[in-house]
């Protein structure tokens, strides 16, 4: 055992001296490997960042979880067909559209550990008109103290509804950016502006006039086509009961707990509705998009890892060839092949460890810059997403690749007959 540790110490001793011997060469090797490591981190964390933003795009307007009205789809379709065949088809089965006992459900959910905030909303399809231009849209009735979504923080023109807002006095409505633009087109304007008038025909055929109070750009395709009213106002227009809502949106402390909390919340609210995750709500093939990007990221990561292996193998091979004579001599002295392999493995380990430090430094700078200047995408600001677990996996893979890449050329040199090397010398 003492001899083994002595050998390991010897290997570290020789390797560290060799690595530190030529500072200029060391600096170049570290820069090359450091950049490769940065590239590995960047590829991984940019994909994670992209995934985050896609997920956040849904979560930011719909919450991580939603309690919605339980749909019995097949039965409903059959019923609809039978209704269609009769003349008694009623477009809106009002009672079935709403969650009952909303305040109680909201209270139960908000008491659940891991739930950050809860908001109950009413929704209604409607037709919005401005002059001769009309657009169908979804009207969202939000309570004025909504803490689940980012809609109140997405105002680009005008103002959102502040707590205590009196709708009777002003009759304000908030429009999504795209909706405001569509309604304005025929009027020769790029967009409706704050103060413009819109007429809204609700699904119960009631017509009301509203003044545009604000325009939001939530960087979300769906939300930018919606209009927002205070929930009380929508309740009054639709004449729903006070404890009826269309949906309860739930924000969580940690989106990774979605599956766990989904089942838990479904359990406590099982008679009140169905729990949907943000993924269930996604209509744009988000998982496919994320999978595609993950694949691209993995390819970039794999290629980066191979490039690192090649660079390390070349460095170690050049070193092993340069030291061929010395290796021959120390083998002749009686130093075992495994110790020589250990020396080169340790050298590869030291080089890659130092490169990890350098590469992490570069990555930190890049990460800092991207957080200061994120890439503006239609669905949000994209930047890298550092995750410790992914970082540690990358470090382990990089080290393992480096040691393997370092071992192979050294192994080739130790296979050569000692007498051949020594006779070449003499």
């Amino acid at each position: 055992m003492g001899r083994f540790w002595s050998s390991v110490k010897t290997a570290f001793f020789i390797s560290s001296r060799d690595v530190a011997k030529n500072v200029r060469v060391l600096a170049i090797v570290l820069l090359a490997l450091g950049f490769l490591f940065t590239n590995l981190l960047f590829a991984r964390f940019m994909v994670l960042g992209f995934r985050d933003i896609l997920e956040y795009d849904v979560i930011k307007v719909s919450g991580a979880l939603s309690l919605v009205v339980q749909q019995t789809q097949e039965k409903e379709e059959d019923e609809n067909i039978s209704k269609l065949s009769s003349t008694q088809y009623k477009l809106e089965p009002e009672e079935a559209d709403y969650l009952q006992n909303a305040p109680l459900l909201e209270k139960k959910i908000s008491e659940f550990p891991g739930v950050a905030s809860v908001t109950s909303i009413l929704t209604s399809s409607a037709m919005l008109k401005h002059g001769t231009k009309e657009e169908p849209a979804m009207i969202l009735g939000f309570p004025l103290d909504d803490k689940v979504t980012v809609l109140s923080k997405s105002v680009v023109k005008g103002r959102y509804f502040e707590p205590g807002y009196d709708i009777e006095r002003e009759s304000g409505i908030i429009l999504g950016r795209y909706l405001a633009e569509k309604l304005a087109k025929k009027r020769g304007k790029p967009s409706l502006e704050v103060g413009d008038m819109v007429r809204v025909i609700f699904r119960n055929s009631r017509l009301k006039r509203y003044t545009v109070r604000g325009i939001i750009d939530a960087r979300d395709y769906e939300a930018n086509y919606d209009a927002i009213l205070p929930r009380d106002e929508l309740q009054a227009v639709l004449k729903t009961k006070l404890d009826e809502v269309s949906e309860i949106r739930i924000r969580l402390d940690d989106k990774n707990r979605v599956p766990e909390l989904k089942s838990a919340i479904a359990e406590i609210t099982k008679l009140g509705g169905a729990v949907e995750t943000w993924e269930d709500k996604d209509d744009f093939g988000l998982p496919d998009l994320v999978r595609g990007f993950n694949l691209v990221g993995q390819i970039i990561f794999g290629v980066g890892l191979l490039s690192s292996a090649v660079v390390i193998a070349v460095v170690i091979y050049v070193n092993a060839i340069r030291k061929r004579r010395q290796i021959g001599i120390i083998r002749a002295i009686g130093i075992k092949n495994w110790l020589i392999l250990l020396v080169f493995s340790v050298q590869a380990f030291l080089l890659s460890s130092l490169s990890i430090g350098v590469g992490t430094g570069f990555y930190y700078l890049l990460d800092y810059y991207l957080h200061q200047h994120p890439i503006v995408m239609p669905f949000g600001d994209m930047t890298t997403s550092f995750q410790l677990h992914a970082y540690l996996v990358t470090v382990k893979l990089f080290l393992a690749t480096a040691v393997c890449a370092g071992l192979y050329p050294a192994w080739i040199v130790t296979r050569e007959p000692i007498a051949k090397i020594t006779s070449e010398i003499g």
Binding site: G2, R3, F4, W5, S6, S7, K9, T10, F13, I14, R17, D18, A20, K21, R325, Q326, G328, I329, I330, R331, A332, I333, G334, I335, K336, N337, L339, P417, I418, A419, T422, S423, I425, G426
Partner: protein, 235 residues
């Protein structure tokens, strides 16, 4: 092991290399005995078989036929791993090119074999300093090889070869890369080490003048011994 007992015995040693379609007989039935404490020089022209003989005795290569007994041990029966261990513990090597690790100081180069056998730091450091003194390099302890002359580097290599107290030191053309004055000094050093430490030395050299300083001179030609005589040395 007593003085004059047989340390190395070579019996009918043959080594044939295949060079393409041609067979080259580097050693052609060599028989010799080396006694304990002898300073043996092997001379002969280039290609006469000196280095091949040293490779066989140094367990760096396997003979095609014949036996090499060292200290009563039939080396044919040793595995590669055992040969490696035998070389580390019982043999010392000095080569034509000094082959020191350039990134290690003189003393660090010397302690390498001791590190490989797991010796304690106190022991090997003290011993390395003593060895450096004995080869006249006590003022070059912390010098790197590139800061030393050829002769000094070879003396570091000699000290390294002695580090694990070998029973036999093999040295192949140790003076080929140094000037004649220094060559004489190096061989004189071998003579001194041989006398003072009673270490058996087997040196291959093509320089007859240097070879004549040994106590036992063997001359090679075409893979065969053409002369083998011992010189009586006053102790």
């Amino acid at each position: 092991m007593t003085k004059d007992s047989i340390l190395v015995e070579v019996r009918d040693l043959r080594k044939t290399y295949q060079m393409g379609k041609v067979e080259v007989h580097a050693l052609n039935g060599v028989n010799l005995q080396i006694r304990c404490g002898e300073f043996v020089s092997v001379t002969g022209a280039s290609g006469s078989g000196k280095t091949t003989l040293l490779n066989m005795i140094g367990l760096l290569d396997d003979p095609t036929y014949g036996t090499v007994m060292i200290d009563g041990q039939d080396t044919r029966k040793l595995s590669a791993r055992e040969k490696s261990e035998f070389r580390l513990q019982r043999l010392g090597f000095i080569f034509q090119f000094f082959n020191l690790f350039m990134e290690l100081t003189a003393i660090e180069n010397i302690v390498l074999p001791a590190l490989a056998v797991g010796a304690s730091r106190e022991n090997y450091m003290a011993k390395a300093v003593t060895l450096l003194k004995s080869v006249g390099l006590e003022k070059r302890v912390r010098h790197y090889p590139f800061e030393l002359s050829g002769g000094e580097q070879q003396r570091v290599a000699i000290a390294r070869a002695l580090m694990n107290n070998p029973i036999l030191v093999l040295t192949d053309e140790p003076t080929a890369n140094i000037d004649s004055v220094m060559s004489n000094k190096i061989v004189d050093l071998f003579v001194r080490i041989n006398r003072e430490r009673n270490v058996t030395i087997l040196m291959a050299t093509h320089e007859k003048e240097l070879a004549s300083k040994a106590t036992h001179v063997i001359e090679f030609q075409d893979g065969k011994i053409i002369s083998d005589h011992r010189r009586v040395v006053e102790s």
